[in-house]
């Protein structure tokens, strides 16, 4: 009988290949469940989950909440903007207060890298990292790989390029770990200012020419330019960024093969990709969103099955 090797999902870094395989196989079953006329199963009816979002999020929060509700868990939501965090309460105090209300699992997004790991060492609950600063966003990477597997059959041996703002992206790091674990070849592509200095040490190819990168790849994962995290100017203007690193239909049509386009959302239409690309049949952006619910159900289900009754 198989189970996850971890008690928390803090990052892809802590998972092994078998864990990812188990999560995908479980997600297959949940994908079937969420396409039924009645999309709910009662497995987690005695589990309570707190969604703690110390940073803004729309789709991740909705996706987690939906996944929890589809599994019949009780859900409480918390966002930092309306809370005592503003009054100076520490993270551990905040979480322990919530846990004293008998919460079994915490889904947390936090602006500081490592917040999830820190919390897992200090509180007695299963922790799922829903994004910690520019560090990791494991469920996003899982759903990205799952979507590649769904579209192309398997992840192993595929060439995947991650384009754009790698420096500020937690999606990029988690994706690199997840793709490499499954045997894909990974390249990052973007302006030098938005590529971390030591990114090569992760064993990825580095390319600054978008056309070359797209000609090499089977899948391009287009990252959003995270203007809100940019305290200094990393490129001269948005227009120039788009000219160099934006994907449009003409560029896609000029390639030797038909590549798959992904985007973790939210899209800046006309910046990273144009509308006709985002809405084309080469883009699997909405599949990613649908798969996100199934993947999160799988992760929550598998972690919950390790919580002792």
């Amino acid at each position: 009988m198989s189970e996850l090797s971890v008690n928390h999902l803090l990052g892809i870094k802590y998972l092994n290949k078998k864990d990812i395989q188990l999560i995908f196989e479980t997600a297959d079953h949940f994908k079937e469940v969420i396409n039924r006329p009645i999309k709910k199963v009662p497995s987690l009816r005695d589990i309570t989950i707190a969604n703690l979002f110390f940073e803004n999020s729309t789709r991740t929060k909705l996706s987690f909440e939906l996944a929890e509700k589809r599994l019949s868990a009780d859900v409480i939501n918390f966002s930092a903007s309306q809370s005592s965090v503003k009054k100076g309460e520490t993270l551990i105090d905040t979480v322990n207060n919530i846990l004293s209300m008998k919460v079994d699992m915490v889904v947390m997004r936090h602006p500081n890298p490592g917040a999830g790991v820190f919390l897992s060492q200090h509180v007695d609950a299963s922790i799922i990292n829903a994004g910690d600063g520019a560090h990791e966003h494991p469920t996003q990477a899982l759903l990205d790989s799952y979507s590649i597997r769904e579209r192309l059959g398997e992840v192993r041996g595929k060439n995947v390029v991650i384009v754009g703002d790698v420096l500020h992206s937690r999606v990029a790091l988690s994706n690199i770990y997840a793709l490499q674990l499954q045997g894909a070849n990974v390249m990052v592509c973007g302006p030098k200012t938005l590529l971390p200095k030591y990114i090569k040490d992760l064993g990825v190819k580095v390319e600054t020419n978008l056309r070359k990168a797209l000609n090499w790849c089977d899948v391009a994962n287009m990252l959003r330019v995270q203007n809100e995290r940019m305290d200094i100017s990393y490129f001269p203007s948005t227009r120039e960024y788009t000219q160099q690193y934006g994907v449009n239909k003409a560029l896609l049509n000029s390639l030797d093969k038909k590549i798959t386009i992904m985007h973790p959302g939210p899209i800046n239409r006309g910046v990273e990709i144009t509308s006709d690309v985002a809405d084309s049949d080469q883009a699997i952006i909405l599949d990613q969103v649908q798969n996100g619910v199934a993947i999160r159900m799988a992760v929550i289900y598998l972690l919950a099955s390790k919580i002792k009754h």
Partner: protein
């Protein structure tokens, strides 16, 4: 470990034919009936009965599905065993249909309880019947009884009833295993 043969291939075959005939008696041409094999072990019996009804009894419209009950079980997180899911294949709506649940062994009745909940995700059926190859008497935890039974068996709790299928284990047989 000792084991005793409860049914051999010939006996299994006779029982399957009887069960198929009993189904025909109640469901005529199966126009409003669907057969649902319960995963994991009930699907072999369901497949076998569906094939028999089609080939030996010339019934054309057999609708067959497989239902996995893992996420509806009442022992999640309660045992050492991690529950592993199987595939559900129901490509039709069961609204107003007459359903026959098919499983190999009826023991505590808890799987059937889970299946009764799980099937509701696919609509509100008109009625649900239960067919099992082996009915273990005196071991029920819930008030659930089969409508069609192959063979009734008196087995104590330490004993295990194992149903083998030719397509899976190489032979049709039923064993009573004593650990």
């Amino acid at each position: 470990m000792s084991q005793k043969v409860l049914l051999n291939a010939k006996e299994v075959n006779i029982i399957l034919h009887r069960l198929a005939c009993q189904l025909i008696e109640n469901h005529n041409d199966f126009s409003n009936t669907v057969l649902i094999g319960l995963q994991p072990r009930g699907k072999y019996l369901a497949n076998r009965l569906a094939t028999m009804l089609k080939e030996d009894y010339k019934i054309k419209n057999i609708q067959l599905g497989h239902l996995d009950i893992t996420f509806f079980r009442d022992d999640f997180r309660r045992g050492e065993k991690i529950l592993e899911a199987n595939t559900t294949e129901i490509n039709f709506i069961v609204e107003n249909k007459n359903i026959v649940f098919i499983d190999d062994v009826l023991y505590t009745g808890r799987s059937i309880r889970a299946a009764l909940t799980a099937i509701q995700s696919f609509g509100r059926p008109n009625e649900i019947e239960l067919l099992t190859l082996i009915d273990r008497r005196f071991s029920r935890h819930l008030p659930i009884q089969p409508n069609y039974r192959g063979r009734q068996v008196d087995a104590i709790n330490e004993e295990k009833v194992k149903v083998n299928w030719a397509e899976n284990e190489g032979e049709d047989s039923v064993y009573l295993i004593n650990n």
